[in-house]
Amino acid sequence: MSSFTLISAALRRKKTRTFLTFSSVVFAFLIFGVLSMLQTAFSMGAEIANEDRLVVRHRVSLFQLLPQSYEADMEEIPGVVDAMHMTWFGGVYQDPSNFFMQSPVEPAEYLDMYPEVLVPEEAKLRWIETRNGVIAGRALVERLGWEVGDRIPIQPTIWRQAGRGDDAWEFELVGVYDADVEGFDQTQFLFRYDFFDEARSFGRGQVGWFMVRIADPDRAPEIAAAIDATFQNSAAETKSESEGAFAAGFANQVGNLGLIVTSILAAVFFTILLVAGNTMAQSVRERIGEIGLLKALGFTSSRVQRLVLMESVTLVTTAGFLGMVLAVGLERVLRPALAAYFPGLFLRPEDLLLGLGLAVVTGLVVGIFPARRAMRLETALALRRL
């Protein structure tokens, strides 16, 4: 028998109330886990962004085009190692709900720019040999049930083929890419720029944005400013920023996710403070005589305070731990199922630790006032409540 026996006895005193409070805390931490996963999924682009890559886009918007000739100009700027371009294709495969990102690229330049993308040598060769060849991320290929060699029609919404009206573009899947970085988007559909540029009905020589590799990440702001200065007062001025800033800005197009998630969590935890705090306050109020008895038996006021605090921390921490375990279980189910839509959907170890830390802090905050009340009770007065 130990002090924990007393804590356990106190928690079992009103089983229904304890169960309801416990359940609400479990649910709160499950919500915490799920929201953390979502936040990770949306912010993953910024998290895994390479510090030595810049994104250069049209100053007005991402969907305004830039001359492809900028690439050579940028490569002349001191500090720039390499540049490559991508373009938003925006086609539809079978049904608009099958959304995935499509872009024409120059294969060799793309693979140089993204060393984290892993493509088998054989697939690389076939990509270079096949004019309408495409490589796609493994998550996308698995989601849509494609196999290498499949012919994939993509219905244009922006880029029609010259002289072919609304006819679908036809691509051949020549390879599947993986990535050796957790959370890297494995749903991209990448095809050759030369094929795209020759066949499109308008905008030849125009591209969507550039990726620029720089030699020294510490000089990123300076180089970005130099790039923008190079094209200042031209017909297509640029906006250059780090890949991380670009990804964060892209994610925030759906709203300030960090603020949304923080606001929801604040509301959830405020409610939990009220629910669990009320439970603890009520529990101590009902046990004034019992607490007086413990003090009469020789328990010091500070020991009684610790007992009540430990009771609160035990209740909230156990429930919080269970909530996080359920969140991990949910992640195991959701992650493979939603990999194609949310490649970065996972619960990070630091979020797990944060959750557990939050549980301990919440337990302490919830218990502090009832514990102080228990500590201050005068023994003789409390015994009158027996």
Binding site: M1, S2, S3, T5, L6, S8, A9, A10, R12, R13, G289, E290, L293, L294, K295, A296, L297, G298, F299, T300, S301, S302, T379, A380, L383, L386
Partner: protein, 240 residues
Amino acid sequence: MVDVRGVSRTFHRGRTPVPVLKGLSLQMEKGEFLALMGPSGSGKSTLLNLIAGLDRPTGGEVIVGGSEIHLLSERKLAGWRSRNVGFVFQFSNLLGALSAERNVAVPLLLTSFSARERRRRVDIALEIVGLSERGKHRPRELSGGEQQRVGIARALVNDPMLLVCDEPTGDLDRTTSAEILDLLVALNRDHGKTILMVTHDPVAAERASRTLHLEDGRLAEGGDDGTVAVPVHEPAGAAV
């Protein structure tokens, strides 16, 4: 054993002082069974609280077992209570989620006894109150008298020198009251426990070796310093 010297205790109702004990003195011998009687508000529970170290006097001295307990800090007083005083209340107030034997063991959480020694003490305490076979039962599975016996076992488990009982039979029927009083008398007579009992019940007070009457915070007039002498039982050895 107990030496109360000129003790006063004043409470405050708002700004109005309410004197409850007014310069009261009394002595108790080791092995004595003293009953405190008096009307409601006469100060008997306040006096019991002072002697048991649950409260401090406004004036005067309280010396129990040689310790000037009116001078002890709150922390030291708590430690002193855990070693020297056993409490029996009108309601046993057992923890409902714990078995009888675990309820008895609660005061042992404050000691450094080994698990084996704790087990031994709990067994002896339950045996003394005649509940050896009921240790695994929860309070709700016990009768009122049995619950009070568990409360007495809890009071005994640390082998205190003083047992204070506040209306120990106040919530029991006549037959069960008699059984509990028999037990207290046996603890005093056979185990040498010094017992201070507050009661309204003259029948209960008759079982004590001496009865003290309080009125308006003082010893009642008449008798021997307000006391009624009854033959003292012969104490015999420590209980646990």
